[in-house]
Amino acid sequence: MKSHISTTINGDSIEFLCDPSQTLLQVLRNDLGMTGTKEGCGSGDCGACSVILDGELVCACLVLGVEAQDAAIETVEGVAAHDQLHVIQEKFLEHAALQCGICTPGLIVSTKALLEENPSPTEEEARYFLAGNLCRCTGYDKIIKAVMDAAATMRQGA
């Protein structure tokens, strides 16, 4: 028997039906057509499905769809404002911090969560916070440079 869930995603009121066994990731991708959040492993080990749920950074594959009830969810699709990219997104592009781009949505969301929690991370703090986001293409070097530059720019109030 499916549950009827009411939630908020990127500021929009959304309703959906889901099986108790469905994950939030499956609901987002397969039922709501929001494919920006990616599946890399389905077991919370890669961070490609990172979303923010009631202010907390989580792997959507480890959250059940039914847990979205009355929650406020932020996904990568909500980071930019219309066509105006967020500073984090701009810095990722400027620093060439993506090659294939599959890990990028998860990293953008995780970086947003990092800088909301800690606007002045050291490089080591940034690397440890983002350790849950696997990247196989870049070796992380340009990603961390983008994150540190985004942090500095955001501190200046840009």
Binding site: A80, L93, A96
Partner: protein
């Protein structure tokens, strides 16, 4: 040629044209396409590593209303007939088919046996229980020593070793032997003052792309069927599927989605033919996704290897002889990259006497696929470790030792040709003067250095450039973009046409909208597709000159085109590209340029890496504390993406050397088929990866480009291995240098 040229766009760090979609989640990858009426497929996989299929009974599944289609090996129309014929291509096709679906025998844990389509992914997976399979379990063969032993279980009854001195008389697990030589190896060792001889081994590793294989397909009786998939080569997907399904090429359209990593692992087919059969039988679009566990167990990892290296040198540092015996695991079917491994192993060295023997060995593991310079990381790891040990033994700095024996223009390789202009010496010199190499080695830290060589390839690329009446345009190419290559295509075309790169939109077209393009791989894209983009742009320049000439009533020879402007050499007039396009209707119609090439002249790329590693003597844990990757790019079109290739390759190599390996139970079950326990490097594991681009131009490319994608994974294995050996004061001969293994070495020393 390109040595002293000033470029307007080449060498800049532009924003990639596909970047906006990638940072906003709008870009569509392999699992992102859903279609109306779509159903889901799932695969039943073997629970045994080696077994005969005594019975495969789908009757219960057929009777179920939840099951909309079933597929097995029997559904490949042409393969059984093709199997009767001879020839290596048919063998390769048969092996591919038998890998996609087991044919009476399962050869690895996870080998696909059958597939079901149902209305949801969960329903399809649940319905797999309705298929009944009886297995006769056989003893699995899980490593080279077991595979080549006298009483080894035989995987393929018809496998007779090719390339032996005397023809093979009985079936074996060794599919082929290869032999390469130069000079007189006996005399070479006789002339040596010092010899190092050691055995090395490397484990099975996976490319580790974050995006699992996935596909959405629509079988169509009345027009081309459609396959949407993440692939490095959608034309080769089309060719494979056409062969397997007995279809003409024109009956299949393959759309390359954005791809979430490939590294060589997405150059063949696994799900696509299965999904197409299910779509044909159900009359519905079908979507399939591999789970992460299935990616590890049932896609194509890289060969495990065993190598024996022997190197001899004089006390003055001249290497007199180099010898290697290389064994590669091919997995369940023949075809490891043993050949390239043999060809590259000693190529960084100009040595008179060389002898290499290689063996391709089947084992009950998944069929290997390419992984970034396939075969070379394994063999060059062993060679570079031995070179470093020998340098140490004669008391010579590892860079000086390599400089003394470095391959350069005119060096005769073991596989035949003499090298043309190459950049190894330039990389060694850059390493010698690098800040890293000149920094003192910190306490408790070991430092390692290693070189690497890869051929790079050219091949077929087809490009069309269409200009619009306002002078903007589209570059239609067919090389799936695995690392930012569209930016480079934009820049190369802009350089020739003299327009802003952002005015040209590069797209990777599907198989219907552009002519054949060879797979993105072999470090070919910026080189070969770039060459085609340049030729197509030059084709446009000729047309622009002709149009301007027509407008001025002069001949085309009297028109010069520079920096986006046509000049009338016999007058004062000039016209911009945009102005010529605006008048195109008047002067004969719209302007398109094209090039269909088979690019020759790919230049090899050499690299040298330096690595500092700290080892915790109580736990065996390793930390990379400093890393520098130096590589010859010929000419870096977009330096950020060239650096990205160096850094990405380095980190994959670091993972291969420090932590990554397939762990198998004695029954051949992979015990760490997930990212938790198959441990790839994390952001917190690594320091900055300093990337130094060396440019020794390749004169065969209009801008001097050498491919860079692959070489970078080769040096890290021995740079890391040597650094660990230095840190613990003991030789390293086995990868990965994981904490339990290091701890064991440390404890044994006490």
């Amino acid at each position: 040629m390109s040595e002293a040229r000033e470029f307007k766009h080449i060498g800049q760090r532009t924003i990639r044209p596909d970047g906006f979609d990638k940072v906003t989640g709008k870009a569509n990858y392999g699992a992102d396409l859903s279609l109306p009426g779509m159903i889901w497929g799932a695969i039943l996989r073997s629970p045994h590593a080696h077994a005969n299929i005594k019975k495969l009974d789908v009757s219960r599944a057929q009777a179920s209303p939840d099951v909309l289609a079933i597929a097995t090996f029997e559904d490949f129309p042409s393969v059984n007939a093709a199997a009767q014929r001879n020839g290596s291509q048919r063998k390769d096709l048969m092996d591919t088919a038998c890998n996609i679906f087991a044919n009476q025998k399962v050869l690895y844990h996870g080998h696909a046996v059958a597939a079901i389509a149902a209305r949801s992914q969960a329903a399809a997976i649940a319905a797999l229980d309705l298929i009944d399979v009886d297995y006769e379990v056989l003893t699995p063969v899980l490593n080279i020593n077991d595979a080549i032993s006298a009483d080894a279980p035989i995987l393929h009854e018809t496998m007779m070793t090719q390339g032996l001195a005397e023809p093979a008389t009985e079936a074996s697990n060794v599919s082929a032997r290869m032999e390469l030589k130069k000079g007189d190896i006996e005399a070479g060792f006789a002339a040596a003052d010092v010899i190092v001889e050691r055995a090395y081994d490397t484990p099975t590793v996976h490319q580790g792309y974050i995006e699992p294989h996935a596909t959405t397909v629509v079988f169509n009786d009345n027009g081309p069927s459609m396959i949407w998939c993440p692939t490095q080569g959608h034309f080769d997907v089309r060719a494979r599927v056409a062969q397997l399904m007995n279809l003409e090429l024109g009956q299949i359209k393959v759309v390359a989605s954005e791809i979430g990593g490939g590294f060589g692992g997405k150059t063949t087919v696994y799900l696509e033919p299965v999904a197409l059969i299910l779509s044909k039988k159900s009359g519905r679009p079908v979507k399939m996704e591999m789970s992460r566990g299935d990616v590890f167990r049932a896609s194509g990892p890289a060969s495990a290897s065993q190598s024996r290296i022997k190197i001899g040198a004089k006390m003055d540092g001249t290497i007199t002889a180099m010898q290697a015996t290389l064994h590669y695991e091919a997995g369940a079917f023949q075809g490891s990259p043993m050949g390239p491994g043999c060809m590259t192993v000693f190529t960084p060295y100009d040595v008179e006497n060389l002898y290499v023997e290689g063996f391709d060995v089947v084992v009950n593991k998944p069929k290997v696929a390419a992984y970034r310079a396939p075969g070379a990381p394994q063999s060059e790891f062993a060679a570079e470790m031995a070179v470093n040990e020998l340098a140490k033994k004669i008391g010579m700095d590892p860079i000086e030792f390599r400089l003394k024996n470095a391959a350069k223009e005119g060096t005769q390789t073991i596989y035949g040709p003499k090298l043309k202009v190459v950049g190894l010496v330039a990389c060694l010199e850059a390493a010698k003067s690098s800040p890293h190499y000149n920094a003192p080695i910190p306490e408790n830290v070991g430092r390692g250095l290693a070189a690497g060589f890869w051929f790079n390839i050219g091949g077929q690329s087809s490009v069309i450039i269409n200009l619009n009446p306002d002078g903007t345009g589209t570059i239609i190419e067919g090389s799936p973009d695995i690392g930012g290559s569209r930016a480079s295509m934009q820049m190369m075309a802009a350089e020739i046409l003299g327009v802003a790169p952002s005015s040209l939109n590069p797209i990777v077209a599907d198989t219907e909208h552009v002519a054949y393009n060879q797979t993105t791989g072999g470090s070919r894209t910026t080189f070969a597709t770039g060459m085609a983009v340049v030729e197509a742009a030059e084709d446009i320049v000729e047309q622009l000159k002709a149009r301007a000439a027509a407008m001025w009533n002069v001949t085309a020879e009297q028109v010069d085109f520079t920096d986006g402007v046509a000049h009338n050499l016999s007058g004062e007039d000039q016209l911009t590209l945009a102005e010529i396009c605006a008048s195109a209707e008047k002067t004969g119609g719209q302007i398109s340029g094209r090039a269909n090439i088979n690019a020759r002249g790919a230049g090899p790329s050499f690299a040298v890496h330096i690595c500092d590693i700290k080892v915790d003597k109580e736990t065996g844990k390793t930390d990379v504390v400093r890393y520098t990757a130096i590589q010859d790019a010929g000419k870096a079109i977009h330096p950020s993406y060239v650096e990205g290739q160096f850094q990405g390759g380095a980190v994959q190599g670091i993972g291969w050397a420090l932590n990554e390996e397939y762990v198998y139970s004695k029954d051949g079950i992979m015990e760490n088929a997930g990212f938790l326990d198959y441990r790839i490097p994390l952001a917190s594991d690594l320091p900055e990866i300093e990337a130094i681009i060396v440019e020794v131009p390749n004169s065969f490319h209009p801008f001097g480009v050498r491919g860079v994608g692959e070489t970078g994974i080769i040096p890290p294995l021995a740079a890391v291995g040597t650094a660990v050996a230095e840190a613990i004061g003991q030789p390293i001969s086995s990868l990965p240098c994981s904490p339990p293994k290091i701890l064991k070495l440390l404890m044994a020393a006490h």
